[in-house]
Symmetry: D2
Subunit: 297 residues, 4 copies
């Protein structure tokens, strides 16, 4: 099952909510995806952490999945986040995404109870069996509470046919080394931790999964291309220029910071859903300062 289509900057759109009804704002969703494609990102990943996947009802989730795939309409590859607390509903979402035209699905083993390796394996296997598109394993202990070792992940890729890609968000570049070594370089891995983007690309990551292109697409793309071209002085310069922004959006939460940044850029996509809160006061000022800095460089 080919996964070569996913490389470069894989951009995570937010899920806009109406300030009146609180419901999904489909027209803003379309617009946010059009912006990303126009800016040149290499792939679109709706319903990830940034897309507040965890806070949507099933009907809303379906609406976003449908709208995102239709909006992209094959111009770039689409990977849809289908994570859910029960295996039953994760399967339902995966099937829905495939039917809607997704090129791949991304699965984080979210759970309330810490899952055993057998339970995680069972979860992935059941989803994989229900669809015919590739699965991107997503390791993000900070949000899921579950940390999958590189060896365990490599076993999943080896044992389950359509599990073919790995997104690592633990922030430990040595995990990427291990994935590469355990598979003799055969498993494509993607970086999901913004502040180590430079190093992950240097270490051989196939792509960078990031919400940052909503705000600073040109810098993200520039970094990717500079490392690919071996222009390390430029890569470092471009990386350290965007690093304050990358750290800011990570430390204050992607939905709140990206939505606030879009508003500062004149595009109001509503507030994140409670218990998440909108950025306020000093944080907005700081974000504005960071955006100005980038613009003036």
């Amino acid at each position: 099952m080919s996964t070569t289509k996913f490389k470069g900057i894989i951009a995570y759109p937010i899920t806009p909510f109406s300030r009146e009804t609180g419901g999904v704002d489909v027209s803003s969703l379309r617009r946010s995806i059009e912006r990303l494609i126009a800016d040149g990102v290499h792939a679109i990943a709706p319903l990830g952490s940034t897309g507040e996947c965890a806070y949507l009802t099933d009907d809303e989730w379906d609406e976003v999945a449908e709208c995102a795939t239709k909006t992209v309409s094959g111009r770039v590859p689409v990977v849809v986040g289908i994570s859910d607390l029960t295996t039953h509903n994760a399967i339902r979402r995966a099937v829905f995404a495939e039917r809607a035209g997704a090129d791949a699905v991304m699965v984080l083993p979210v759970s309330y109870w810490k899952l055993t390796e057998a339970e995680i394996r069972g979860h992935y296997a059941a989803i994989a069996k229900a669809i015919n598109i590739p699965i991107m394993v997503y390791n993000n202990p900070a949000t899921s509470g579950i940390d999958m070792s590189p060896r365990f992940i490599a076993d999943l890729v080896r044992d389950i046919d359509n599990v073919t890609m790995v997104k690592e968000s633990s922030g430990d570049v040595q995990r990427m080394h291990e994935l590469r070594q355990l598979s003799d370089g055969a498993i494509p891995f993607y970086n999901g931790c913004n502040p180590i983007a430079l190093e992950a690309l240097a270490a051989g990551a196939s792509g960078w999964c990031t919400a940052a292109p909503n705000l600073i697409p040109e810098l993200n793309l520039h970094l990717y291309h500079a490392v690919a071209a071996g222009q390390m002085d430029i890569a470092r310069e471009v990386f350290y220029r965007q690093l304050p922004m990358l750290k800011f959006i990570l430390s204050l939460g992607l939905p709140a910071t990206i939505k606030a940044g879009l508003r500062l850029q004149g595009f109001d996509v509503g507030a994140p859903r409670k218990p998440l809160q909108e950025l306020t006061g000093e944080a907005i000022v700081e974000l504005g300062r960071l955006l100005d800095q980038v613009r003036n460089q």
Copy 2:
């Protein structure tokens, strides 16, 4: 708002599922609660971690809340777990629980994104405002991914009228010390970490929130009464006797182990919901061995 009614052994029933339909098995739920009351526990806490609250649909959740409160019917106090990912639905559940007759609700700040203190505070305040029964703050970083400091918790209790009790499951008895010191002993705290039950009671915990009474109620109650009576030799003896069981059910997950234990005792309450898996092979043998040991002592 009085909370003196909650003390002693607060028992967490499982949520039984039908092996045929996979749906909630209401009649087994009733029976499991009757067993606990007959065994003498001091309070009942449906829809906690053990009750697989996180894996139920909204309809199922309502069904369990309704059935549990009606079954208990005032014989002992009831505290209902209403935790949910969105503030909106947590409020809906809290209101439902109050109407169904709950004496209190328990709230864990579950979320996908790590919440800021302002977000946690907003979550509790919004729930508290919607109901007139007491709220038990529940700190369990292992399942929620969010660790609330004793100082933050003490502030919640001070600032929000019907936040009146604290369940600490971090396993760090020094958190209990701090809660006591920060409130001059005014905040009742409850132990939610089974393997430190002896020490938490020695340190002044008002009660022990535990799923263990589903399997070994007499030992749990004996420990509570021995510490209360200052019979520390007996307390130690009874504690070390049940400790292997307390560690076993914690390490392999409460829904899976309690359900397997009930089945070994002749009461089949179905499997936990996927991705959770039933106990198998050696783990069941070990559990049987632990149950036999307890019975023969």
Copy 3:
């Protein structure tokens, strides 16, 4: 090899330094030990963490070991800390301590490199072979950087004849549970983490290894006797009364805080050795306040 002699409050004297020469102040050392014995502690433990063992030259170490054992002169048992970076010098110190009349030696596996279990085992075995008095294994990951599991410690006690006691300072009361379970209650364990003294004694600790008796001996002894008598209400009251002091001396470092406290009580034992620094400003004021509180209760 009998270890029944060590139980109750095992007090750790500081090592006084002359403010003029910086050298060991032997006469103050004698006086500090006489104070502890007069106050009724059950055993004396020179050259521990509090005694700044790690910062002494070999000549100074010998001087303190000699003076401490001679001063006690059999009135209570003495356990001498002989920890050193090389096995060679740890053996030299152990032999010296035995000749000087120590009843036991305490050994922390201090090292620069993390030691493997084989290296730790070799270290203890080599020391044990060189002496005929009991060894107290000391686990304190915060200072040694090495964390020995209860199972590994229980193996040491089983395999090496004169390794007979365990001092646990990790602060995790569950380690004590494991030691008890792994040895069917045969291994005497001692608590070295001041802020969990109440719980460790409740869990069956044979004694409490502490520097606190330099400042508040009556409260330490009261706690020990109250738990032993099953007077848990009194035990809690006495424990929470001394807890602010126990936390203070731990958080700011035992040598600095105990020396500052003695000075406030009119007994100047000099400064801790650089890089350690004397307590200053607000910290001294806070310590004075804590001492006054205790006195006035």
Copy 4:
């Protein structure tokens, strides 16, 4: 104070011990340094972690410092590790190193007690005042038990004149980002964590402090030059080739693994000092296999 002389591969020699007397084997020390220089490393760093600095007597330490500086004799820069538990002796060693001709000294804040920032600052300031050569701050929480934040380190560099370089061994490349950002790129930082050498160089590290050149100098130098030249494909290839060796020597301890490797290469430099133990059995076989792999590629 110029520090431009230190860049590239900074090699850490072992300290050889005689198998007969256990004392320092000065002639093997000379030979090990000559090997490194002949292999083309850019600087020599005696008495580091690899040099078992912590396990030497003062006389031995002096002997090694003297011998190492005289052997190098200005052919490449020398940075001498002068870390010691007391500030007094660290100063003595720093002065000795300067007189012996060292170009710089490296200081790790080793201690028994966790040091406060004021204590660490006092330690560095006192050493800096006593010498006129640059100081390399060394952060290695795994061995020292003390973790200095990038901000604290940047403050040290700003406030103390001859503190001019930073060796980061925490393994977290984000620390390097922070050092760079806090100083606008003015603080030269060096990587001390072997398994992230590729990423540290990509991030702009001035050099790589490593014991690996004792065994695989050509691969270490090749990696450094490939990154410098922007040949990232080659850099990755060379890095992943040596990574198994870099991980092996870190996980089993540098003194034991480097000494075993040198012996396999026909150069017996004795055993590490107890409690450290020589590599045995399977570990030696594995090391031989790794060395063969490198040779045959």
